[in-house]
């Protein structure tokens, strides 16, 4: 067993520097690496390129890094819930690359899977296709999209073991397994950390080979963006 366990967040973030490219798992605020984001927001790192489906909300998630102007460029698919993000983008302070969600997922997956680029129909005929190679397959136009990798990928899982194997819960899985594959260094924070051998290998979502460091997360806030319920 190759031990991926790190005792604290300092060790988990060893090597993190300004001007790096980071990936952050999560969809909205669901499945985001809360502990790592909070720690990054307390550090003097800036000029970051962040790849994340969303950009958090004003006071939580990646919104914390935006507020301190640590992010130079965001690569996302949907940023609707963050007023500060919109302000920085429209004023030109923040560089933003908006890409279709499925393309974003596949670009991360491809980056981790050794596939440099692929063709997709998504975005053909739109701004997204600008300056991209178009090729017709089966009579339908597709655009060429490059894969993505990152200096660090930060992911969050429900359960993990010291070998770095991860299991996600519910829809908190989302981009986490794909980004875990695409990080030069992938750091996972988990709600429940087990010794290797405790998790059933049949149930692992992300094999530990993709994870370089695993740490125990704490005090998960798990904010709900839209609390919707029905009456009993």
């Amino acid at each position: 067993m190759i031990n991926k366990f790190v005792e604290n967040i300092e060790l988990a973030l060893d090597g993190v520097k300004s001007n790096m490219t980071f990936m952050f798992g999560g969809f909205g605020l669901s499945g985001i690496p809360e502990n790592i984001i909070k720690e990054l927001s307390n550090r003097e790192v800036d000029g970051l390129t962040c790849i994340s489906n969303n950009a958090g909300v004003d006071e939580f998630g990646l919104g914390l890094l935006l507020k301190r102007k640590q992010i130079k460029k965001m690569i996302s698919s949907y940023v609707g819930e963050n007023a500060e993000f919109e302000r920085q983008m429209l004023s030109g302070e923040l560089e933003v690359d908006l890409i279709p969600q499925g393309t974003l997922a596949e670009r991360c997956r491809a980056g981790g899977a050794g596939i440099p680029a692929f063709y997709t129909p998504a975005g053909y005929g739109t701004e997204v296709a600008k300056d991209k190679e178009v090729r017709i397959f089966n009579g339908k136009p597709h655009i060429l999209e490059n894969s993505l990798v990152a200096d660090f990928a930060f992911v969050k899982a429900w359960k993990g073991d010291t070998a770095g194997n991860l299991i996600y819960k519910g829809t908190a899985r989302n981009f986490n397994p794909l980004m875990a594959m695409a990080g030069k260094i992938t750091v996972a924070e988990v709600e429940e950390l087990y010794p290797a051998g405790e998790l059933d290998p049949n149930h692992i979502h992300t094999p530990g080979i993709f994870v370089q460091r695993i740490m125990q997360g704490e005090n998960y806030e798990k904010r709900i963006e839209q609390r919707t319920t029905r009456k009993r």
Binding site: G80, V96, G102, N174, P177, H205, I224
Partner: protein, 218 residues
């Protein structure tokens, strides 16, 4: 009377076919799940990674790890499955999801849709919409007929940056049901009590009208 958002959703629910997989977008489309007709089995896909999405949870049972693409708390039904975003879009791009219901800011008579950006003003991003419209076999748009300024969202040509080309098949608004044909918008139904001339007045595109236009049954 023009329809309210729930009635638009209810009308779209009549389009649901038995034993199909359906993706509902954010906004009015999400409401469609509340009106599935009796005897129709549907599995709802949400692109953040769930198939077999159920209704909102009972108060006190919300799970932050179980949300839909609109970031609303949800539940799962028997037979549901959870997956990552790449698998989710494999279902979408690979045409395994049969129907997509989306909101829009503009729809053109060619079936182009714009719903992700107002240059210089509002940039929320396309989310999964571009992937959805690039591949779905059937795309229905749910929206209000006019915007807040009263301008038609039904157009000859989209003014805003488009999300996808030649993809929308049908539009259900608070005033009408419009089908997109090779020759443009066909007015196929009108909201109860709304006249054809009112619809024409609210529409900035040609409407193909053949014979009596029936009222929607809601």
């Amino acid at each position: 009377m023009a329809l309210d958002k729930n009635q638009i959703a209810k009308r779209i629910a009549q389009e649901l076919e038995h034993n199909t997989y359906v993706n509902l977008g954010i906004g009015i489309p999400t409401l469609v799940a509340n009106y599935i007709p009796e005897g129709i089995d549907i599995e709802f896909q949400s692109e953040n990674g769930v198939l077999g999405m159920g209704p909102f949870p009972f108060e006190g049972e919300e799970d932050p790890d179980l949300i839909n693409a609109g970031k609303q708390t949800i539940t799962t039904l028997d037979g549901a499955v959870l997956f990552d975003s790449a698998i989710s879009f494999a279902m979408i791009r690979g045409q395994h999801v049969q129907l997509t219901v989306l909101g829009a800011m503009e729809v053109s008579e060619k079936g182009d849709i714009a719903n992700w950006k107002i240059p210089g003003k509002m940039v929320k991003g396309m989310g999964g919409a571009m992937d959805l419209v690039a591949s779905a076999q059937n795309i229905i748009v749910a929206m209000m007929h006019t915007n807040r300024l009263g301008d038609s969202k039904i157009l000859k040509k989209c003014n805003l940056p488009i999300t996808g080309k030649n993809c929308v098949k049908k539009v259900v608004t608070n005033l009408a049901v419009l089908e997109i044909t090779e020759d443009g918008f066909k007015l196929s139904e009108r909201a109860p009590g709304v006249s054809v001339s009112e619809i024409i007045a609210a529409t900035a595109a040609n409407l193909i009208i053949t014979g009596e236009v029936p009222e929607m049954i809601i």
